[in-house]
Amino acid sequence: MANDCCTPGGNVMILACSGGSNVGQLSNQAAVELTREGVGKMFCLAGIGGQLSGFVQSARDVAGMVVIDGCSLGCAKASLENAQVPMKSYIVLTDLGIEKNKDLNLKPEEVLKVKEAVKEAIAKQ
Protein backbone atom coordinates (compact mmCIF):
# COMPACT_ATOMS: atom_id res chain seq x y z
CA MET A 1 0.00 0.00 0.00
CA ALA A 2 1.20 3.51 -0.72
CA ASN A 3 3.06 5.43 1.96
CA ASP A 4 0.45 8.16 1.98
CA CYS A 5 -2.73 6.11 1.84
CA CYS A 6 -3.84 7.49 5.18
CA THR A 7 -4.38 10.98 6.55
CA PRO A 8 -4.70 12.74 3.19
CA GLY A 9 -3.79 16.35 3.91
CA GLY A 10 -6.41 17.74 1.61
CA ASN A 11 -9.27 15.94 3.27
CA VAL A 12 -11.39 18.70 4.75
CA MET A 13 -14.13 17.64 7.15
CA ILE A 14 -17.55 19.07 6.26
CA LEU A 15 -20.11 19.18 9.04
CA ALA A 16 -23.67 20.18 8.12
CA CYS A 17 -26.52 20.84 10.53
CA SER A 18 -28.83 18.91 8.15
CA GLY A 19 -31.84 20.36 9.92
CA GLY A 20 -35.53 20.13 9.04
CA SER A 21 -35.85 23.31 7.01
CA ASN A 22 -34.78 24.49 3.58
CA VAL A 23 -31.51 25.89 4.96
CA GLY A 24 -30.81 22.75 7.00
CA GLN A 25 -31.30 20.58 3.96
CA LEU A 26 -29.32 22.99 1.80
CA SER A 27 -26.40 22.50 4.18
CA ASN A 28 -26.81 18.75 3.81
CA GLN A 29 -27.13 18.77 0.02
CA ALA A 30 -24.09 21.00 -0.39
CA ALA A 31 -22.06 18.72 1.89
CA VAL A 32 -23.15 15.65 -0.10
CA GLU A 33 -22.28 17.22 -3.45
CA LEU A 34 -18.94 18.60 -2.27
CA THR A 35 -18.05 15.14 -0.96
CA ARG A 36 -18.96 13.59 -4.31
CA GLU A 37 -16.85 16.21 -6.06
CA GLY A 38 -13.86 15.50 -3.81
CA VAL A 39 -13.75 19.00 -2.35
CA GLY A 40 -14.07 17.67 1.18
CA LYS A 41 -15.57 14.80 3.10
CA MET A 42 -18.91 14.98 4.87
CA PHE A 43 -18.76 13.69 8.42
CA CYS A 44 -21.44 12.73 10.91
CA LEU A 45 -22.45 15.66 13.12
CA ALA A 46 -24.88 13.42 15.02
CA GLY A 47 -21.95 11.29 16.18
CA ILE A 48 -20.31 14.41 17.60
CA GLY A 49 -23.61 15.55 19.14
CA GLY A 50 -23.91 12.12 20.71
CA GLN A 51 -20.34 12.54 22.01
CA LEU A 52 -19.16 9.21 20.57
CA SER A 53 -15.42 9.20 21.01
CA GLY A 54 -14.49 8.25 17.45
CA PHE A 55 -16.45 11.15 16.02
CA VAL A 56 -15.41 13.68 18.65
CA GLN A 57 -11.71 12.82 18.48
CA SER A 58 -11.80 12.85 14.68
CA ALA A 59 -13.18 16.37 14.73
CA ARG A 60 -10.61 17.49 17.30
CA ASP A 61 -7.69 16.08 15.33
CA VAL A 62 -8.67 17.01 11.78
CA ALA A 63 -6.57 19.67 10.04
CA GLY A 64 -9.29 21.27 7.92
CA MET A 65 -12.94 21.71 8.75
CA VAL A 66 -15.98 23.67 7.57
CA VAL A 67 -19.09 23.80 9.73
CA ILE A 68 -22.39 24.73 8.04
CA ASP A 69 -25.39 25.87 10.02
CA GLY A 70 -28.64 26.64 8.23
CA CYS A 71 -29.69 29.42 10.55
CA SER A 72 -28.55 31.49 13.48
CA LEU A 73 -29.85 28.98 16.03
CA GLY A 74 -26.44 27.41 15.42
CA CYS A 75 -27.17 23.75 16.24
CA ALA A 76 -23.98 22.49 14.57
CA LYS A 77 -21.91 25.10 16.37
CA ALA A 78 -23.54 24.20 19.70
CA SER A 79 -22.90 20.49 19.12
CA LEU A 80 -19.20 21.18 18.60
CA GLU A 81 -19.02 23.46 21.61
CA ASN A 82 -20.67 20.82 23.81
CA ALA A 83 -18.13 18.27 22.62
CA GLN A 84 -15.27 20.75 23.12
CA VAL A 85 -14.29 20.63 19.47
CA PRO A 86 -12.66 23.84 18.22
CA MET A 87 -14.27 25.22 15.07
CA LYS A 88 -12.21 26.30 12.10
CA SER A 89 -14.45 27.75 9.38
CA TYR A 90 -18.08 28.54 10.04
CA ILE A 91 -20.91 29.40 7.66
CA VAL A 92 -24.52 30.33 8.46
CA LEU A 93 -26.74 30.09 5.40
CA THR A 94 -29.20 32.79 6.42
CA ASP A 95 -26.18 35.13 6.60
CA LEU A 96 -25.70 34.41 2.89
CA GLY A 97 -29.12 35.97 2.23
CA ILE A 98 -31.04 32.69 2.00
CA GLU A 99 -34.37 32.98 3.77
CA LYS A 100 -35.33 30.15 6.10
CA ASN A 101 -38.59 28.33 5.41
CA LYS A 102 -40.08 24.84 5.55
CA ASP A 103 -40.00 24.18 1.80
CA LEU A 104 -37.75 21.14 1.35
CA ASN A 105 -37.78 21.45 -2.45
CA LEU A 106 -34.29 22.88 -2.71
CA LYS A 107 -33.41 25.52 -5.27
CA PRO A 108 -30.38 24.52 -7.37
CA GLU A 109 -29.09 28.10 -7.38
CA GLU A 110 -29.11 28.13 -3.57
CA VAL A 111 -27.27 24.80 -3.39
CA LEU A 112 -24.68 26.30 -5.71
CA LYS A 113 -24.42 29.42 -3.54
CA VAL A 114 -23.74 27.30 -0.45
CA LYS A 115 -21.18 25.17 -2.26
CA GLU A 116 -19.34 28.28 -3.41
CA ALA A 117 -19.30 29.65 0.15
CA VAL A 118 -17.86 26.39 1.45
CA LYS A 119 -15.20 26.32 -1.25
CA GLU A 120 -14.27 29.89 -0.37
CA ALA A 121 -13.98 28.97 3.30
CA ILE A 122 -11.76 26.00 2.45
CA ALA A 123 -9.53 28.17 0.27
CA LYS A 124 -8.90 30.47 3.23
CA GLN A 125 -7.74 27.66 5.53
Binding site: C6, N11, K41, L52, S53, G54, Q57, S58, D61
Partner: protein, 77 residues
Protein backbone atom coordinates in the same frame (compact mmCIF):
# COMPACT_ATOMS: atom_id res chain seq x y z
CA UNK B 1 -6.07 -2.73 29.13
CA UNK B 2 -6.51 -3.24 25.39
CA UNK B 3 -5.19 -0.93 22.69
CA UNK B 4 -6.35 -1.02 19.09
CA UNK B 5 -4.34 0.54 16.29
CA UNK B 6 -6.53 1.11 13.24
CA UNK B 7 -5.06 1.50 9.78
CA UNK B 8 -5.29 -0.23 6.42
CA UNK B 9 -1.53 -0.67 6.20
CA UNK B 10 0.20 2.50 5.09
CA UNK B 11 3.54 3.77 6.41
CA UNK B 12 1.91 5.98 9.07
CA UNK B 13 -0.24 3.10 10.28
CA UNK B 14 2.78 0.83 10.66
CA UNK B 15 4.62 3.63 12.44
CA UNK B 16 1.70 4.11 14.84
CA UNK B 17 1.63 0.39 15.63
CA UNK B 18 5.38 0.48 16.28
CA UNK B 19 5.18 3.57 18.52
CA UNK B 20 2.32 2.11 20.55
CA UNK B 21 4.08 -1.24 21.07
CA UNK B 22 7.35 0.45 22.04
CA UNK B 23 5.57 2.76 24.49
CA UNK B 24 3.81 -0.20 26.10
CA UNK B 25 7.10 -2.09 26.44
CA UNK B 26 8.99 0.98 27.71
CA UNK B 27 6.28 1.61 30.30
CA UNK B 28 6.31 -1.99 31.48
CA UNK B 29 2.57 -2.11 30.87
CA UNK B 30 0.68 -5.36 30.43
CA UNK B 31 -1.63 -3.74 27.88
CA UNK B 32 -2.36 -5.81 24.81
CA UNK B 33 -2.03 -4.23 21.36
CA UNK B 34 -4.10 -5.22 18.36
CA UNK B 35 -3.38 -3.92 14.85
CA UNK B 36 -6.58 -3.82 12.80
CA UNK B 37 -6.28 -3.47 9.02
CA UNK B 38 -9.72 -4.64 7.97
CA UNK B 39 -11.58 -1.67 6.45
CA UNK B 40 -15.02 -2.87 7.55
CA UNK B 41 -13.81 -3.27 11.12
CA UNK B 42 -12.14 0.16 11.02
CA UNK B 43 -15.36 1.75 9.73
CA UNK B 44 -17.26 0.53 12.81
CA UNK B 45 -15.37 2.99 14.99
CA UNK B 46 -16.68 6.19 13.39
CA UNK B 47 -13.31 7.69 12.64
CA UNK B 48 -12.66 10.25 9.90
CA UNK B 49 -9.22 9.04 8.90
CA UNK B 50 -6.44 6.66 9.85
CA UNK B 51 -4.23 5.82 11.65
CA UNK B 52 -6.26 5.86 14.84
CA UNK B 53 -5.59 4.62 18.36
CA UNK B 54 -8.27 3.32 20.73
CA UNK B 55 -7.58 2.59 24.39
CA UNK B 56 -10.21 0.48 26.16
CA UNK B 57 -12.87 1.65 23.71
CA UNK B 58 -11.99 5.33 23.91
CA UNK B 59 -10.63 6.88 20.70
CA UNK B 60 -7.48 8.82 21.58
CA UNK B 61 -5.98 9.91 18.24
CA UNK B 62 -7.20 10.12 14.66
CA UNK B 63 -5.26 10.76 11.48
CA UNK B 64 -1.87 11.17 13.06
CA UNK B 65 1.01 9.23 14.53
CA UNK B 66 0.99 9.75 18.31
CA UNK B 67 4.15 10.28 20.30
CA UNK B 68 5.37 7.69 22.78
CA UNK B 69 4.67 10.22 25.53
CA UNK B 70 1.04 10.45 24.40
CA UNK B 71 0.65 6.69 24.49
CA UNK B 72 2.24 6.45 27.94
CA UNK B 73 -0.15 9.11 29.19
CA UNK B 74 -3.12 7.19 27.80
CA UNK B 75 -2.05 4.01 29.57
CA UNK B 76 -1.41 5.91 32.77
CA UNK B 77 2.37 5.62 32.87
Amino acid sequence: MHIKVLGPGCKKCHETDKVVREAVTDAGSDATVEYITDIAEIAKHGIFSTPAVIVDGDVKAVGKVPSKADVKKWIGK
